[in-house]
């Protein structure tokens, strides 16, 4: 029996340590690193949104940039054209945009495609959305939408001024923590467990009378909404929405984070995103080497430690434990 309460407590402890680390960044680092940390925080949840789909529902998306970009552009449009609208409503609209894209696309694609075909379909659609952005005047074409203001939130009781980069950084950390917590709760709810069951065994779940399509679509829409939320939160931080954030290479980012950190673990994308931020930072003054460095690192991870960093650590720990006492052979029903 898994002790859920203990697991909850340990995850809470991890989250608290992570939050504390992010909270001290503005005190110990300069504004460039704080900015990077803000992006990393967003990337963590972006990676988790992808992993919800991958490790959760067993779907491989190669088009998460369309959600991220969709949310970012929705937020940018809202803040440029309806500056009177409450900021949090803007974020909701951003997330809703991602959910909508996921719903429309998912209804068509999930019925028909799976595996690599699904991946390539997502890639194609995301590239279409990118092209549409670069050809649409009110989306700023290739130059993007610039000068996006940072908000002040009026709660009635008090006013939260987020116009400075540092204040907005803290908002990001809080928003991403909330999003990660919500995701954790979902994954540990009965619905979340059911979606995971789909991945583990398509057939058996079908026999249980579950509509696989329905649950896959649910996972897809949730994942899209979460990715779009990340995009929407990022835009006031960087103050620009440019077509690069909807380009297909952005779709590879959450995949890289997740696989680097370990897809089998809730915190995998977080470890991956932090590590990737560090690599990005470490190669910032190199000439022409960042491509080959990232490529080699990634290849080594996939080939040597396919479980990602966390999987690797877990494996080593298990090995160490197992050596002294080989577990007694269990009586199991044989498999055909």
């Amino acid at each position: 029996m898994i002790d859920y309460r203990a697991r909850f407590r340990s995850n809470l402890a991890i989250a608290a340590c992570g939050l504390a680390a992010f909270a001290v960044v503005p005190f110990v680092a300069n504004s460039g690193l704080m900015f990077l940390a803000g992006l990393v925080a967003i990337n963590i949840v972006f990676g988790m949104s992808w992993n919800l789909l991958f490790s959760g529902a067993g779907l491989l998306s190669f088009g998460h940039a369309m959600f991220f970009g969709g949310g970012a552009y929705a937020m940018a449009l809202v803040s440029l054209h309806w500056p009177g609208l409450p900021f949090l409503l803007g974020l909701a609209i951003g997330a809703g945009a991602g959910a909508l894209i996921a719903l429309v696309f998912g209804v068509i694609a999930l019925r028909r495609a799976s595996g690599v075909y699904f991946a390539v379909l997502t890639l194609v659609f995301s590239e279409l959305i990118h092209l549409v952005i670069t050809k649409t005047t009110f989306l700023g074409r290739n130059d993007g939408l610039v000068g996006i203001p940072r908000p002040t939130i009026e709660t009635g009781l008090f006013t939260l001024d987020l116009t400075s980069a540092t204040a907005y950084y803290y908002f990001i950390v809080v928003a991403m923590a909330c999003a990660a917590f919500a995701l954790w709760c979902f994954q540990n709810s009965p619905a979340g467990r059911l979606i995971q069951a789909i991945r583990q065994d398509n057939l058996r779940t079908a026999f249980l009378g579950t509509s696989i399509f329905g649950w896959q679509l649910t996972a897809f829409v949730l994942s899209g909404a979460l990715a779009a939320f990340c995009g929407a939160v990022m835009v006031p931080f960087t103050q620009i929405a440019s077509p690069e954030i909807a380009y297909w290479t952005v779709s590879t980012q959450p995949i890289l984070f997740t696989l680097l950190g370990g897809a089998g673990n809730f915190w995998g994308p977080a470890v991956g995103a932090i590590l990737f931020g560090a690599i990005d930072y470490g190669t910032r003054a190199m000439h022409g080497l960042s491509e080959i460095t990232v490529g080699t690192l990634l290849l080594l991870v996939v080939l040597l430690i396919p479980g990602g960093l966390l999987g690797f650590l877990q494996h080593r720990r298990q090995k160490k434990r197992r050596k002294p006492t080989e577990p007694a052979p269990k009586r199991t029903e044989a498999q055909p």
């Binding site: 001290v24 680092a29 300069n30 504004s31 560090a278 960042s290 877990q314």
Partner: protein
């Protein structure tokens, strides 16, 4: 058991953030003595690294020149390079990090999206950037920001210069078409080309210019035959193109066997400089190209001669591109401005000094307009022809440098470019 392993992950994360300790804000330490540090945020990797390399060489040569001539009030110039990956987010991280470390004076931006993103960022963080050639007209118009300067051509001066010179030298050619990238930059250049042409031809010849609908070509495509076929159908004497880089080489390569270049009298290339010619050698179609800086046109100018000689010595490459001169000019502008402030590198002082600054550069004197931070500089263009004698397979047979005052648009910061005013 799972949580212990996770705790390790967090420790690793903490260690990663712990790395930040050496990068504490050192802004206060920046004083009015010791070396002057300038930040160069430019693509050092990825597809645009080619241009970033020119920026790097130009900046380094410029800094060496200043330093070997006594520095700025005796202070040496040092450069800090950062990879922008031609991406606004990476560029923002780099710009902020540099400012946090006290390097508030920056240069090297080449992509339009990055240049546009820099304005609000530098305004809130307190920094200055001189772009080395971002092509968007919004920079000194609707998205004007006092913290962003452009020492290079505005898209207007470059293209209006090209057009005016062509109309002057070949008044017989009145029928024009265009092949332009389906990209913001392509559309802008075409708008300027068309507006200037419609104005200059009647002025010069008394007759109307006949301009066909432009042919839009996709970005980064491997096959341009359908567009070449469209171009073959045009009844024109001249073709203007702002297709850039590898796309331009592919387009020219595929167009050649169709005989497109034999069919027209003149090919006008807005910005490829020697990029197409060095790739195609003796197969290069004869064409006029706009230049940020063409060294032959500036022979005798010690800055230009030093830049050219140093570049060739460093790289062995005989054909530097104008991006190098723009980064070089940015260094010259900073040096002159800091002299003017009396040594202060504070953002507000440097902005004040840069506004209205006149300084010498590889293309001669440039003047930074106080109103919109746009440089007034010479527009340069050269005629490149294939040659059986030249080792490189091509040679420049004609070139011209036009006075910037005559080709630049009036300063209208905060307002959209008004094509009727060209």
């Amino acid at each position: 058991m799972a949580y212990k392993m996770n705790r390790r992950g967090v420790v690793a994360g903490l260690a990663a953030t712990g790395l930040t300790a050496p990068f504490l804000n050192t802004r206060m330490a920046a004083a009015q003595s010791g070396p002057i540090t300038l930040g160069v945020v430019t693509p050092l990797s990825g597809p645009v690294q080619l241009i970033g390399n020119f920026v790097r060489h130009g900046a380094e040569i410029g800094a060496d020149y200043i330093n070997s001539n006594g520095g700025v009030n005796g202070r040496e110039i040092q450069l800090q390079f950062r990879d922008s990956k031609a991406n606004p987010n990476d560029a923002s991280v780099a710009a902020r990090e540099l400012i946090g470390a006290g390097t508030n004076l920056q240069l090297g931006t080449i992509s339009s999206a990055v240049a546009l993103a820099m304005g609000p960022l530098l305004q809130s963080e307190g920094g200055v950037v001189i772009t080395s050639g971002a092509g968007t007209e919004k920079l000194n118009h609707e998205n004007y920001n006092p913290h962003v300067f452009r020492v290079g051509d505005s898209p207007v001066s470059r293209n209006a210069g090209l057009v005016r010179h062509i109309v002057q030298s070949r008044p017989d050619i009145r029928k024009w078409g265009g092949i332009i990238p389906d990209h913001e930059y392509g559309r802008t250049t075409w708008k300027i080309f068309e507006a200037t042409m419609r104005k200059a031809v009647p002025e010069m010849t008394g007759e109307e210019a006949v301009i066909a609908e432009p042919i839009l070509v996709p970005y980064g495509s491997g096959d341009y035959r359908n567009y070449i076929q469209q171009a073959m159908r045009l009844d024109v004497d001249g073709i203007y193109t702002s297709v850039y880089g590898g796309d331009a080489v592919t387009l020219y390569q595929q167009a050649k066997p169709f005989g497109l270049f034999d069919k027209i009298d003149i090919l006008l290339d807005s910005a490829n400089e020697f990029l197409v010619a060095t790739a195609m050698g003796d197969q290069t179609p004869a064409h006029w190209s706009g230049f940020h800086w063409y060294y032959e046109a500036n022979k005798g100018n010690p800055l230009s001669d030093d830049l050219y000689a140093s570049y060739v010595e460093r790289t062995g490459d005989q054909y530097p591109m104008g991006w190098a001169a723009e980064a070089h000019a940015a260094i010259m502008a900073y040096a002159k401005a800091i002299e003017k402030t009396g040594g202060s590198t504070e953002t507000a002082d440097v902005i004040d000094a840069l506004k209205g600054l006149s300084f010498d550069s590889a293309t001669g004197m440039r003047h930074l307009r106080a109103e919109d931070n746009q440089a007034v500089k010479n527009a340069e263009l050269a005629y490149i022809e294939p040659s059986s004698e030249a080792e490189s397979g091509f040679e420049v047979t004609d070139y011209v440098s036009l006075d910037g005052e005559n080709v630049v648009e009036p300063a209208r910061p905060g307002e959209m470019l008004d094509l009727s005013a060209l």
